[in-house]
């Protein structure tokens, strides 16, 4: 007993020391230091994003130069449209690249099929405390009874509202602020709608992470499926409330249908917004570079409106991770590269490239990211603020892919009632959940 207390005291003291020195030395002490590799070799690395490939090239070169001379990294870009087909094919034939990008919603499939390398022993070996990352970033990448972390998170994406200032001005409305509520939002959508000019108030229901799930999350309900992937949550009170709120806006004529948008994806809504046809859309932080370059009208971003009762504004957060193949011939090398890419040093390359918000929580890196967009009045900080109360993607791809689009189409294109659409969705999800299938 005495020993335990002593241990606790020592630990607390150590913690206090870490916190103190951490505060003082924040500039010098990296959150995650990189380390040298044991033995050089050749690695195949797959990404889906063209821009990331060039960032990666720089950062892997730095890794080779400083930590692993003689190593070779072959980077291949496979566009998103085919990436997962390819990864799945490669997994089936045992040809997975050594290291590749993973997304939270796909993780379950590969982890459950034992296709991925458990990185936890390496995190332990390298002395990385995996709780430095926020739960929304890494929890979806944990697997097994001990919650081993199988991925090194690269970045985060959050969602906020993109709005057309010119249309607000034309309607004589004040610009929204971060404490606006659903009610304010609905009032703005109504005032901004102008059928004569073929202009809608809002389009915020689209599929996947930048659409309706954010509204569900704000009610306090986990969107689509529960954290443990055990139950469909679409029929929970919060889901029904959020979906009915959005459907109500559409029924009033403030939001276009999916078909008028040209599709159910976030890109379709964003394109419609870019064309000046809708005043307010939900959009991810990944759209910032495109918006800064292309949008000709005055615009800004603001955090998602707050749920009137919970008072919460919640963003779905998605983090892309690096994972290694379970059957890689160079597991140590792969883990070492992932460590580097997650380290402060490796993440700097991402922070400095516009558009990629670094997963590494170092405040310095976060600021570099905000500053990387250059001299702009756009409220980029809104996306960083959105990370504070965020929700990781817990549904896995079978559900995410099959249902996301269908539920959006059913409710926001075909006029099916929320109750009926969510019933259909949950019926399907329940057949896909591993626990209930057994």
């Amino acid at each position: 007993m005495v020993k335990r207390t002593l241990q606790k005291t020592v630990l607390l003291a150590a913690l206090a020391l870490v916190l103190l020195t951490g505060g003082v030395l924040a500039q010098e002490e990296p959150v995650i230091p990189a380390q040298a590799c044991a033995e050089a070799g050749t690695l195949d690395l797959w990404v889906w994003d063209e821009n990331w490939a060039s960032i990666l090239e720089e950062s892997t070169n730095a890794w080779i130069e400083s930590y692993c001379p003689g190593a070779v990294v072959n980077i291949t870009v496979h566009p998103w449209g085919q990436y997962w087909d390819l990864v799945q094919t490669a997994a089936t034939s045992g040809d997975l690249p050594d290291v590749f990008n993973m997304s939270q919603d796909r993780f379950y499939f590969y982890a459950s099929n034992d296709a991925l390398l458990d990185l936890q022993p390496y995190w332990d070996e390298y002395g990385v405390d995996t709780t430095v990352w926020g739960t929304g970033l890494v929890d979806p990448y944990r697997w097994g009874s001990n919650g081993d972390l199988y991925a090194g998170p690269v970045n985060w994406d959050t969602v906020a509202i993109y709005y057309n200032k010119d249309l607000f001005d034309a309607a004589g409305l004040e610009y929204p602020t971060s404490d606006w509520t659903w009610d304010d939002f609905a009032a703005a959508a109504a005032a901004l709608t102008n059928p004569q000019n073929d202009v809608y108030g809002a389009a915020v229901f689209n599929e996947y992470q930048s659409g309706y799930p954010n509204w569900i999350a704000a009610t306090g309900t986990t969107p689509v499926a529960e954290e443990g992937r055990t139950a469909c949550t679409l029929q929970d009170e919060g889901s029904i409330e959020a979906l009915n709120f959005l459907k109500g806006l559409q029924d009033e004529g403030y939001m276009p249908t999916v078909s008028i948008l040209g599709g159910s994806s976030a890109n379709d809504s964003f394109a419609y917004w870019s064309a000046g046809r809708v005043a307010v859309v939900t959009g991810g932080s990944w759209l910032l570079p495109q918006a800064l370059e292309e949008i000709t009208f005055n615009w800004d971003v603001v955090q998602l409106p707050r749920h009137p009762e919970t008072g919460r504004t919640r963003s779905i957060l998605h983090s892309v991770g690096y994972v290694a193949a379970a059957n890689t011939e160079v597991p140590d090398l792969a883990a070492n590269l992932i460590l580097f890419l997650s380290s402060d040093e490796g993440q700097r390359f991402f922070a400095e490239a516009s558009g990629v918000a670094p997963a590494n929580p170092s405040p310095e890196l976060q600021q570099i990211w905000v500053d990387s967009f250059g001299d702009t009045d756009i409220n980029i900080q809104a996306f960083v603020d959105a990370t504070t109360d965020s929700q990781g993607v817990t549904a896995f791809s079978e559900i995410w892919d099959a249902i996301n689009t269908e539920i959006v189409l059913n409710i926001f294109d075909l006029g099916v009632s929320v109750e009926e659409a969510t019933q259909t969705a949950c019926d399907f999800i329940n057949t896909q959940l591993p626990e209930t299938a057994q």
């Binding site: 449209g81 085919q82 390819l86 034939s93 994806s265 064309a275």
Partner: protein, 288 residues
Amino acid sequence: MNPTRDNRPSFLDRLSLLDRLVAYSVLIVGAVLMVLPFVWMVSTACKPSSELNRLPLRWIPEEPTCLENVRSLNETSPDFDQYLRNSIILTVGRTVGQFITCSLAAYGFARFEFPGKRVLFAASLALLMVPFQAIVVQEYLLLRRLDWLYTFAALIIPGIFSAFALFLLRQAFLQIPIELEEAAMMDGANPLQVLWSVTLPLSLPALAAFAVITVQAAWNDFLFPVIVSNSAATRPLTVGIALLQGERSTPWNLLMMGSLLATLPMLILFILLQRYFIEGVALTGSRR
């Protein structure tokens, strides 16, 4: 080919003015419906993005941006040129390959007696009954086992064997008077030389029809390439533009430009070789 073809003028050809009026009205309305999608494709392909979601619709873009759209397409889909190249490789490979294997086989079946000939010919023709869709899964598994997936070999080699081309070319070869070949034989030519210098030159119209059928089928093939090509290295245009459509962020003007560029080569070929395309269809029809 059409023994009862009869081109002499007949009193049946005399049409009243009303007949003509009705006939032309139907033809013109039909032709407009046929052509409208092409016109709309070209019109949209030349519109700037800002003119896409705008009412009322305009047939002629206010500020045409054809060339800029080609450029943006290349930015959006940096591998577009390579898709084009792959389509050409795929098409040429299959056509030349099929020409070689099938003209050899057709010649063998048309002019030579050997044990098992009937069985082999019947077996080849029986495969005409198997729709490709029914075996595409097995085809994929076979190519995977051969470790050919995602190579040009996978795209081309299964496509160079054809029961249909065999049947078609054999029919053509059978129509050539055998005496001409025998004369060449007498001069000491071996069968390959006879095939090359006598039989093939005399079958040019059939070969041309065969070529356009094969070229067109290869250029427009989708189901097979979508399964056996997975990267820009071998992906043909059809799969490339399908991918653009599937990405859901590609604006319509670029999609139309992509479709236009994918269609143009066949349209040009058709305009140049119209006759053979039409004969090709008639031949397709004669296969049963």
